[in-house]
């Protein structure tokens, strides 16, 4: 990220995703994103952070880190978790997740949704052995 404007570290607990969503929503609103787009941004970030908390952390002692960069017409958000020591990020596993997704299932919609709602979506391992998810949202006008 060329210019990281905002850094936000929270404990790996869904409780803290509530104020994070308020932060992101308010920021996107002040940046001039439309209501509909703000809802999309909040949902995508919620799904990504939920995965970081529920699948990418050993406990609530772990930290979830967000880096939010604001450039002309682009909002870029990087979510980092510390991982659980499991190698999950393989092409096979991702294809499997995609193939198994069904509207009838109670879970398994998070990655699908966040890919759908973002303009770019990138997932990779980070130095800590956790997962980095980097997404961007472009402004229409």
């Amino acid at each position: 990220m060329e210019r990281t404007c905002i850094k936000l570290n929270i404990p790996s607990d869904v409780f803290y995703l509530e104020p994070v969503r308020a932060f992101i929503g308010n920021l996107a609103q002040h940046l001039g994103f439309s209501r509909k787009r703000i809802a999309d941004i909040q949902l995508a970030v919620d799904e990504i952070c939920n995965n970081a908390v529920n699948h990418g952390s050993v406990s609530t002692e772990a930290v979830i880190s967000l880096q939010i960069s604001v450039r002309a017409q682009v909002l870029e958000i990087l979510v980092q978790d510390a991982g659980t020591g499991v190698d999950w990020l393989t092409p096979e596993r991702l294809s499997e997740i995609e193939a198994n997704r069904s509207p009838k299932n109670e879970s398994g919609h998070g990655i699908f949704l966040s890919k759908l709602l973002t303009d770019t979506y990138e997932m990779r391992y980070n130095a800590e052995g956790g997962t980095d998810v980097r997404v961007t949202f472009y402004q229409e006008n």
Partner: protein, 114 residues
Amino acid sequence: MAKTDLMMLREDSGIKIIEIKTDLSSYAASDLRKMLEMLLEQKVDKVIVNLHQVHHINSTAVGALVGVAKRLRQNGGDLKICELADNLTRTFNLIGASTVIEIYESENSAITAF
């Protein structure tokens, strides 16, 4: 961490109506799930979840609603939802959950649909 007034449980025409008072992200979804499990244990078969005060829902909360709807249907009951804001409808549509769960514009139309 105080969780007050997250949801209100009412009854109308023999149907349990849950009115959600908060955004439905994972934090509140766990309470919603507990409430729904409780109703399942009490052999309730008709449930409506009114979402008119909800501004945000995520896939965890949608999953909880879909899961309970499926279990209720196995016993001849159902869970229907109503009064969704546009972005909530969008989330249900994107997931595809609007084909699995019945969505109504108003609470009344959800009641009469039972």
